[in-house]
């Protein structure tokens, strides 16, 4: 009978088995770059239905996979060769790890017998990537490839998602062995899910009902588990104002009367104000990063914390919770919705707290000072919001434009805003937008960019044009590494070192040289027209918007201070 089984197993190469296993996982496309050590895998693209999308740099490929993964909530896949190909994806892995994004990176490796001999284009990517991956596999036989793929996808997308590396030596790719594609497998040390914790959800409800000034803090985990409906139901039932972390931006519609927007270093004034006044917080899927909460000690003082998270190690890491609810936040929020329904809790009256929240929100809507010029950041981003359909997907780069997007671009449809929030990777937004567009070809995808960040991965214009992935790059161009310049103005007595980009390159011409569309917008009318042109065009478009290099992002909570110390525009 064993021989029957073996006969049923088809003999194939490790490279072929990789493709078959990926097809079984539902992979439709791979973002990557070929090289010597992954050629046997690349050769298989000629014989399978998986689309290969060529990037011009492995880092770009990894961000494309990341963007795809965040939007589709299925692991995006990137390919790189050994050595420098593999080291080029380290930034992509670290970015995905910091933001809990599901991703599979497949790297070529030198043949097994050459490992450890400093072979040409050999790098110990397993060792180098260890702190920035959720897990890594290096199958040493062709027959071990299918299981590595099966387990890799499972690990990448389950529990708290993250990047998984599969490093395949070249001879493992070419060797032919009888292949078994297991449906079932066991990972003894991995327990990604806990059952809903009904008892602690009950306690959480009691605490929220008895609090005078309760608030919801929704983090990125809310978006990852797409707990949008549950979050909104709870907020409306208990009349809780909702702030988010920056990563959680758009977990809750920012046009909702209970929405206050993101807290943090460049949080909304009303969000930071209300967060510091609240006496009890329902924190959902957040790790309480320093950029969100300021100093840890000041934040948790006089605040009762209910902490829901899928990752037990986040409980008590940065903040001490009075009640911890461990497990998938959507599952636990669903329990909360059900319990509230059973108890027929429905707050309709306006408590003094909610009245105060609404007044504060209205005050800052009126009174937050913005740049007076026609082309100030706030006006530009409000214009973008006005013209874009509400289902559009936004990615951002990292810097001032990113924080302006947080402040002035309201997310209407939950789960349509993505940014490198944890690692803060400049150059992430554009390739991520390409990945996002592949996942959602039916909606406009816009990378809100700065000139400094865009320069880091502009090579992806070739991918957008040649692979027919028409995304929009929206550059707030102050010809400066703007956030660094702002810190130099604020903390270094205006000694401006290494920040001036001197309007080089010309991004309109750059776009055109790649065959993309380049439009410069220097007035609100031109901007309106440019966005509409980009939306109706079937080629990638770069909109270059010159802005004042002296404009600061405000409000600002300086590093090492608390949300209460927020500096406001004067």
């Amino acid at each position: 009978m064993v021989s029957d089984l073996i006969n049923k197993m088809e003999t194939m190469s490790g490279a072929k088995a990789l493709m078959v296993a990926m097809e079984k996982e539902g992979v439709k496309q791979v973002f990557g770059l070929p090289g010597g050590a992954n050629l046997p895998m690349y050769d298989e693209f000629a014989r399978c239905d998986i689309r290969h999308i060529l990037a011009r740099h492995e880092q770009s490929a990894s961000h494309m996979a990341d963007g795809f993964g965040r939007v589709s909530r299925k692991p995006g896949v990137c390919f790189a060769t050994s050595g420098p190909g593999a080291t080029n994806i380290l930034t992509g892995l670290a970015t995905a790890q910091a933001d809990s994004s599901p991703m599979i990176a497949v790297t070529g490796q030198v043949p097994v017998a050459m490992i450890g001999r400093d072979a040409f284009q050999e790098s110990d990517i397993i060792g180098m990537s260890n702190p920035v991956v959720k897990y890594a596999f290096q199958p040493r036989t062709a027959g071990a490839v299918p299981e590595a793929v099966r387990k890799g996808f499972f690990i990448a997308e389950s529990g708290r998602p993250g990047p998984v590396l599969i490093d395949i030596p070249k001879d493992v790719q070419t060797n032919k062995e009888p292949m078994d594609f297991p449906d079932e497998f066991k990972i003894r040390g991995y327990h990604p899910w806990a059952d809903p914790d009904i008892a602690n959800v009950e306690r959480a409800i009691e605490m929220l009902l008895h609090a005078e000034k309760p608030i919801i803090l929704a983090g990125g985990g809310t978006i990852i588990s797409s707990a949008f409906a549950e979050l909104q139901s709870i907020a409306e039932t208990l009349m809780l104002p909702v702030v988010t972390t920056f990563k959680g931006k758009g977990a809750f519609p920012e046009t909702h009367p209970l929405s206050l927007g993101p807290i943090g270093m460049h949080g909304h004034a009303e969000a930071n104000k209300m967060m510091t006044e609240a006496d009890c917080v329902l924190a959902i899927g957040t790790r309480f990063s320093d950029r969100s909460v300021g100093t840890f000690e000041a934040f948790e003082k006089r605040l009762k914390i209910i902490h829901m998270d899928v990752d037990p190690a986040e409980i008590g890491k940065n903040q001490t919770a009075q009640i911890a609810v461990i497990g998938d936040v959507k599952a636990n929020l669903r329990v909360m919705v059900k319990l509230l329904l059973q108890r027929a809790v429905k707050k309709t009256d306006e408590s003094p707290w909610i009245k105060h929240v609404k007044e504060t929100k209205a005050y800052w809507k009126e009174n937050l000072k913005i740049h007076p010029g026609e082309m100030g950041a706030a006006k530009i981003l409000r214009k973008l919001r006005e013209v874009l359909p509400k289902e559009s997907v936004i990615t951002t780069e990292v810097g001032q434009h990113q924080m302006w997007a947080s402040l002035f671009y309201d997310v209407i449809q939950p789960g349509t805003f993505f940014s490198s929030t944890g690692l803060g990777t400049m150059g992430w937004g554009f390739p991520a937008a390409i990945g996002a567009k592949v996942a959602r070809p039916d909606v406009p995808v816009v990378d809100i960019a700065g000139d400094g960040s865009f320069a880091m991965t502009e090579n992806s214009l070739a991918t957008a044009v040649l692979e027919d992935i028409p995304v929009i790059v929206f550059i707030l161009n102050n010809s400066t590494l703007g956030m660094v310049a702002q810190w130099q103005r604020t903390f270094y007595d205006r000694r401006m070192i290494g920040v001036d980009q001197k309007s080089c390159p010309d991004y309109v011409k750059l776009a055109e040289s790649y065959g993309a569309q380049g439009i410069r917008a220097q007035s609100m009318d031109e901007l309106d027209k440019a966005i509409r042109t980009a939306l109706s065009s079937d080629v990638a478009t770069v909109i270059d918007i010159p802005i004042d290099p002296e404009e600061d992002v405000l409000p600002f909570v300086a590093p090492g201070t608390s949300l209460a110390d927020m500096v406001l525009p004067s």
Partner: protein
């Protein structure tokens, strides 16, 4: 505070690297570490002792538990645990009396004497880290030429 952690892991290459890397990258400290295969050759057991405050120890345990290659992570209560470390001291002998004195000292600590030479002697001592430290203090006046220690191995007592 001193803590003993017992970590059951997959007996696969690279796991020790991952565990020690975790301590380094999370800014934890390793006081001692010992590793050996268990009765089931699919698993190894690591015993790590560390100095940290209560909150940090909780974080160490959680971060270790989160690792996919760890099967079980336990913080052992030292009062309910048998824990020992093996140490070997090479001690200088300066005069005829020293040999007898070191022998006496070794006996007092339940140590064993090896490799007796004219000018040096080796003492093997299996004890708690505190006892080894105490022995070391008393051996110092003779002159300690070299020392090797294994790190702590520990098992919780039954019913504890």
């Amino acid at each position: 505070m001193w803590a003993i952690l017992s970590i059951l892991v997959e007996n696969k290459p690279g796991i020790l690297f991952k565990v020690t890397h975790l301590f380094r990258s999370r800014n934890f400290n390793i006081d001692s570490i010992s590793v050996g295969v268990t009765e089931n050759s699919e698993y190894s057991k690591m015993t790590i002792t560390t100095y940290a405050d209560e909150k940090q120890i909780e974080q160490i345990v959680k971060q270790l538990d989160k690792m996919i290659d760890t099967i079980k992570v336990e913080r052992l209560d030292e009062h309910k645990t048998v824990y020992r470390e093996l140490s070997i001291f090479k001690i200088k002998l300066s005069n005829a009396n020293d040999s007898m004195e070191v022998n006496k000292l070794a006996n007092a600590y339940g140590g064993k004497v090896h490799d007796v030479r004219k000018d040096s002697i080796m003492v093997e001592l299996t004890a708690t880290p505190d006892q080894i430290k105490a022995f070391e203090e008393l051996a110092k006046p003779f002159g300690i030429l070299d020392v090797a220690r294994t790190g702590v191995a520990a098992l919780q007592r039954s019913g504890a």
